[in-house]
C-alpha cells in the first residue's frame, strides 16, 4: 500500500518548527514576565521596574532617541523618495540601488566604519547621544526610503496633472495629493525605523561610548541576572510591536514585509 501523498503535508515540518521555536518561546517569555523567582504568579516585575526612577529616565531617553532618529530619517528619506519616484530618468533604479547597497555590508562593520569616521572628526567619546543618533540614522535610512519610494511610485502621474489643471499650486498639490497618498509608506517606514532605534543596542554601544542606554540594552543586562525582569521588558516590546502591526494592518497577507522589498 502506498501512503496517500498530500501537498498539505509538506507544511508540517515548518508548522512544527514555528510551534517550537516561535510560539513556545513567546509563551515562555509571557510566563517569566508574570512570575517571581519562586515561580509564583506576580506583577512584581512590572511594579519594581516602573517604580525605579533611573529605569524610567532611561526609557524616556531611549524614546527621545528613537523619535529623533525616526524624524531625521523621515526628513531625509521623504525628499529622496519623492525625487526618485517622480524622476523621469531611465536609470533611477540604479540610484535607488546606491541607497541600498551599503546595507549589504555587515551591520557591525558598517557601524565600525561610522565609528572610525566619528573618531577622525574628533566626536567619538565627546558627543555620545549625537553619535548614537547619527549612526542610527545612517543605518536605518534605507528602511525609510524603500517603503516611501514604493508607495510614491504607485501614485498615478495623472493625479498631479489633474491637480495642476484644477488650479492647485505645487504646495496645495503636495498637501492634498502627495502627502495623503504616501501616508501608508510613511507609516510603514516609521514602524521599521522606530523599533530598531529603541532596541538595537549595537549602535548605541559602539558609538555612544557605552554611555548611552536604550530599552533593548535592559534585556541584555537582565539576561545575565534576572530573566523575569528581562522577559517583562521583552513582553512590553512584544505588545508594542503587535499593537502597531495590527493597527497598521501588517498581519494582512499581501502586505509587503520589512526588508523584503529588495
Amino acid at each position: 500500500m502506498r501512503l496517500h501523498f498530500s501537498r498539505k503535508l509538506l507544511g508540517i515540518p515548518y508548522a512544527v518548527f514555528l510551534a517550537f521555536f516561535v510560539i513556545i518561546p513567546m509563551l515562555v517569555i509571557l510566563f517569566y514576565a508574570f512570575t517571581d523567582k519562586e515561580m509564583h504568579f506576580s506583577f512584581g516585575n512590572f511594579i519594581q521596574f516602573f517604580s525605579d526612577p533611573t529605569k524610567l529616565s532611561t526609557i524616556v531617553y531611549s524614546l527621545v532617541i528613537a523619535v529623533i532618529t525616526t524624524a531625521v530619517c523621515l526628513a531625509i528619506a521623504y525628499p529622496v523618495a519623492y525625487i526618485l519616484a517622480r524622476s523621469k530618468m531611465k536609470k533611477k533604479f540604479v540610484i535607488l540601488l546606491l541607497f541600498v547597497t551599503p546595507m549589504w555590508i555587515n551591520f557591525v562593520l558598517r557601524v565600525n566604519a561610522i565609528r572610525e569616521l566619528l573618531n577622525w572628526v574628533g566626536l567619538l567619546g565627546e558627543a555620545n547621544y549625537f553619535n548614537t543618533i547619527f549612526g542610527m540614522v545612517y543605518d536605518f535610512l534605507p528602511f525609510m526610503i524603500l517603503p516611501l519610494y514604493t508607495t510614491m511610485l504607485k501614485i498615478d502621474e495623472s493625479l498631479y496633472e489633474a491637480s495642476a489643471d484644477l488650479g492647485a499650486n505645487s504646495v496645495t498639490t503636495f498637501v492634498r495629493v502627495t502627502l495623503p497618498l504616501s501616508a501608508p509608506g510613511i507609516v510603514s517606514g516609521i514602524t521599521m525605523v522606530f523599533l530598531p532605534s529603541m532596541t538595537n543596542y549595537v549602535v548605541s554601544d559602539m558609538l555612544g561610548n557605552s554611555k548611552v542606554t536604550i530599552i533593548g540594552k535592559f534585556i541584555y543586562e537582565y539576561f545575565g541576572s534576572n530573566w523575569h525582569m528581562g522577559s517583562m521588558v521583552a513582553l512590553i516590546l512584544l505588545i508594542v510591536v503587535f499593537l502597531s502591526t495590527w493597527l497598521t494592518g501588517g498581519f494582512r497577507e499581501d502586505e509587503p514585509a520589512r526588508g523584503s522589498s529588495l
Partner: protein
C-alpha cells in the same frame, strides 16, 4: 520657465548627491586608509598592503570569516528547504490553518531581534539544551525562514493551477507533478529567499550572541568585541577591519553591477 526647472533639477541632484555622499563617506574613508600604512585614520603614511596581509595571516580573523560564511550557507540552505516546503504546504492548506501559520511566521519578522533572541535563549535553557552550533543554527533559521516563505508565496499565487491538474490527468503521480510542474515555477522565489536568508545570517549580531556556543566568533561578534572592549585588541586588529570592510564593499559592488548588466541582457532577449 526653463531656467526655473533647470534650477529645480540642480537642487534635486545636489540633495541626492549629498545624501549619497553622507552614506558612502565612512566606507570610502576606510577604503582609502585600508591602503595606507597607518593604524590611526587622519595620520599620514605611505601606500601599502599591510592591512590586507595582516587580515589574511591572522588565524583568528580567518576562522571568524570562515565561521560567518559557513553558518550563513548552512542556515540559508536549511531555511530555504524548510521555508519552501512550508510555503507549498501552507498554500494548499485550509484557510484557517494557512492564516494561523502566516501570522506565526510573521512574528520573527516584526519582532525586535533582541526579543526573539532572549526568548530562544531562555527556551534552550528551560528544555535543557546547552548552547551549541545546533542552537545557533536554529536561531538563524528562526530569523530567516519566514523571509523565504515570504518570497516563495507570491510565486505560488502567480502559478497556473491547471498545469498541476493537467499533469495529474496525464498520469503523473502527485509527487512527480509537484517536482516537475510546481517546483520549476517557484524557483525564482526560492533563489531570492535563499539570497535573503544568507544576507540576514551574515548581518546578524544579536541572535548569534544569545545562541552561540562559547568561543564561536563571527565577523559581527568579533568586531563588536574588538571595538567595545578595546583593551584586549590593539589598533592593529582594528585597522585590519578596514581591509575587510573594503573587500566586502568591493564584492557587493561587483555583484550589483554584474546583476544589473545581466538584467539588461535578459531584457533585450525576446
Amino acid at each position: 520657465m526653463n531656467k526655473k526647472t533647470l534650477a529645480a533639477k540642480c537642487v534635486k541632484a545636489i540633495f541626492i548627491g549629498l545624501v549619497l555622499l553622507l552614506l558612502y563617506a565612512p566606507i570610502l574613508l576606510l577604503a582609502v586608509y585600508s591602503f595606507i600604512d597607518t593604524d590611526v585614520i587622519g595620520t599620514s603614511g605611505s601606500f601599502s598592503l599591510t592591512h590586507y596581509t595582516k587580515l589574511f595571516t591572522d588565524s583568528r580573523v580567518l576562522t571568524m570569516i570562515g565561521n560567518t560564511f559557513g553558518l550563513a550557507f548552512a542556515s540559508a540552505a536549511l531555511s530555504t528547504l524548510l521555508g519552501t516546503l512550508g510555503a507549498i504546504g501552507m498554500y494548499y492548506c485550509k484557510r484557517r490553518v494557512k492564516t494561523a501559520m502566516s501570522v506565526a511566521s510573521r512574528i520573527p519578522i516584526i519582532n525586535a531581534e533582541i526579543v526573539t533572541a532572549l526568548a530562544l535563549a531562555i527556551l534552550f535553557v528551560v528544555i535543557g539544551l546547552p548552547k551549541s552550533y545546533f542552537t545557533m543554527l536554529i536561531g538563524h533559521m528562526v530569523i530567516s525562514t519566514p523571509f523565504v516563505v515570504l518570497s516563495v508565496m507570491p510565486k505560488l499565487k502567480q502559478m497556473d493551477n491547471s498545469l498541476y491538474e493537467a499533469a495529474l490527468d496525464l498520469g503523473a503521480s502527485p509527487a512527480k507533478a509537484l517536482l516537475k510542474v510546481v517546483l520549476p515555477q517557484i524557483v525564482p522565489g526560492i533563489i531570492s529567499g535563499f539570497m535573503l536568508a544568507i544576507t540576514l545570517s551574515l548581518d546578524d549580531y544579536i541572535v548569534t550572541v544569545y545562541t552561540r556556543p562559547s568561543g564561536f566568533e563571527t565577523i559581527s561578534t568579533y568586531v563588536f568585541n574588538a571595538t567595545t572592549r578595546g583593551n584586549a585588541h590593539t589598533a592593529e586588529t582594528l585597522s585590519s577591519f578596514w581591509a575587510l570592510t573594503t573587500i566586502i564593499f568591493l564584492v557587493i559592488l561587483i555583484v550589483v553591477i554584474a546583476a544589473n548588466l545581466s538584467g539588461r541582457k535578459r531584457e533585450v532577449k525576446p
